[in-house]
Symmetry: C2
Subunit: 252 residues, 2 copies
DNA sequence: CGTAGTATTGAATGCGGTCAAGGCTGGTGG
DNA sequence: CCACCAGCCTTGACCGCATTCAATACTACG
C-alpha cells in the first residue's frame, strides 16, 4: 500500500496525486481531461476524491444508491446492468479504461444501474458537485463533458440499432468489431485481445442466449474469421467481420 | 402568417418572442427552462433562434448534417431513427412536446439520426454555442441541461432492456404504458389518446413486425385491455397493462 | 483428484417472421 | 352520389431462427 521511499513531493500535490495524476494517466487523451492544459488538468486532479480499487466481481455502485460522483475508469473493465421488474438482468454496457460511469444518475440523483468490475479495476472518483463548479470556470472541460455524455447517448443508440434490427450473427460480429476498435483506440492490438466477460454476459448484452454465443463463436472459428481459446480472441479476418456487421451476407 | 393587429411590444422582445415565449409555453415545467426564474427564462428566450414549423413528414435534421442547435419541441410529435449500413431504419425514439432533440450530435458536431415530424409540429431552435455561454452564467440551467441529457441516457437504457430482455407482448405493453405516462405528465388523459405513429413505426421501434403489432393490438382488444379504433387508443385496464410490462404472466 | 463453474454441442420446440390474401379508410374524380 | 384507388391495417398459414432442454466437456482451483 505505502511506498517505502516516497518521491519528493512538488508543492500542492499530495502523495496520492503523485501516484495517479491525470497528466501521467495513459487515458488522459480519452478521458475527461482531454484537451486541457496542464494547469486545468491540475485543477481537475485536485477535485478527484480518491482513486478507488474495485476487485473483480465487486460493486462500484448499485441501483437506487444516491448519486454523488461520476467514476472514470483508470484501469480494468466494468459492466453495467439494469433490472427488469421481474428481476432479470439486462447488461447495458461494458466499460473500459478512459470511460465514464454514472452519468445516468444525474437525472434523478440516484443510480439507475448496477456497476460491477469484470476484473480487478481502479476508478477515479469525481464528486459531481465539485465538477459542476469546475465546469463553469473551464469551458474546455464543459465542452468535453458534454461530448462524453453525448457519446454515451450515441453509443446506446447504436445498441438499440443492434438489438432492434440485427440478426444474431450480425449482432455478434458488431460486438467483436466494437471491442476491437476500442482496444485499438487505447493502443492495444485490435486483432488480439481477451474477452473480460463470460459468454453468458455477452449473450445477455446482445439479447441472445449463452448457447447462441457459443454456437456463433464456433461458427466464426469454423469459417476462419476468429481464433478462439477460452476468452482469448484473435481476429483473422477483420474486414470480413466488419462486412458482416454492415449487413453483407454472412455466407460464402 | 402575420397578425393583422400586433400587440404592443415590450422593450427587448420581438414580435416573434411575444407570440412564443418560454414563460407562456405550457411545456416550460418539463422543458429546458424548468426551475428558472423570470429573468433567467427571459435570457434563455433571447438566445432562441426562431420557432420553426415542421410539417407532417418533414425533416428537422438529417444524419451527417452539421450540428448547430438543439431543438425543443413546442408542439407536435417527432420520430428519430438511425440507419443500418445496409440502409434499414431503426427508430430510436418518439419525442413529444417538452422534449429535446439533437443531444446525440454534441459529441461529433454532426447529427447521428434523422428527425422527422409525425404531425405538423413546432420547435424552438436553441443555438448550442449561445446555450453554452448561458450555462456558465446560470447554474440552474446547467444543472437542468445535465438532467435532460442524463434522462435521455436513462430512457435509452430502458429501451435496451425492452429490446434485449422482453417478449413481444411485454414490449408492446411497455410501449403503451410509456406513452400513457408521458401524456399524463403533460396534462392529457393517460387512458385515452391518439397514436401519432403507424403500426409499422411502432413495430420498427419495438424490434417487431407490423403484423406482430397488429396481432398484439387485436389480442389486447380481445382481452379487454384496450379499446382500439384506427389510431385512437383507450386503456381499459391500465393496472393490468402495467403488470404485463413488469413481466407478470400475460395469460388469465 | 474432485468439484463447481463455465462452455460446447445436439435435438426438439416455439415465438415471431415471412408470405399472401383481403379488408378498411380516406381522398379524388366522374 | 358512387367508383376507384392507394395506403394502411388485419388475419391466416407456414416457416425458420434462436431458444429451450439435455447431455457432455473443459478449466480452474482447492
Amino acid at each position: 500500500m505505502n511506498q517505502a521511499l516516497p518521491a519528493p513531493t512538488p508543492p500542492g500535490a499530495t502523495l496520492e496525486h503523485l501516484r495517479a495524476r491525470c497528466a501521467t494517466c495513459s487515458m488522459h487523451q480519452l478521458c475527461l481531461p482531454m484537451g486541457l492544459d496542464m494547469a486545468d488538468m491540475d485543477r481537475l486532479d485536485r477535485i478527484i476524491g480518491r482513486r478507488r480499487k474495485v476487485a473483480r466481481g465487486g460493486t462500484l455502485f448499485r441501483i437506487g444508491a444516491p448519486f454523488g460522483s461520476l467514476y472514470a475508469i483508470r484501469l480494468g473493465h466494468f459492466k453495467t446492468y439494469q433490472l427488469n421488474p421481474d428481476g432479470a438482468e439486462q447488461i447495458t454496457g461494458f466499460q473500459m479504461a478512459g470511460e465514464l460511469l454514472g452519468m445516468d444518475a444525474i437525472s434523478t440523483d440516484r443510480h439507475h444501474c448496477n456497476a460491477i468490475a469484470l476484473e480487478d479495476s481502479e476508478v477515479c472518483e469525481i464528486p459531481f458537485a465539485s465538477l459542476q463548479q469546475l465546469l463553469v470556470d473551464m469551458p474546455a472541460l464543459l465542452r468535453h463533458f458534454h461530448r462524453m455524455m453525448s457519446q454515451e447517448i450515441t453509443r446506446e443508440q447504436g445498441v438499440m440499432l443492434l438489438l432492434g434490427n440485427m440478426q444474431a450473427t450480425q449482432r455478434f460480429a458488431a460486438f467483436i468489431v466494437n471491442l476491437s476498435s476500442r482496444y485499438e483506440a487505447r493502443g492495444y492490438s485490435p486483432n488480439s485481445f481477451q474477452l473480460r466477460m463470460s459468454r453468458e454476459e455477452i449473450g445477455n448484452y446482445l439479447g441472445l442466449t449463452i448457447e447462441s454465443i457459443s454456437r456463433l463463436l464456433s461458427k466464426f472459428k469454423k469459417e476462419g474469421l476468429l481464433r478462439v481459446s477460452n476468452r482469448e480472441i484473435e481476429l483473422l479476418n477483420p474486414a470480413r467481420l466488419k462486412a458482416i456487421t454492415a449487413g453483407t451476407q454472412t455466407c460464402g
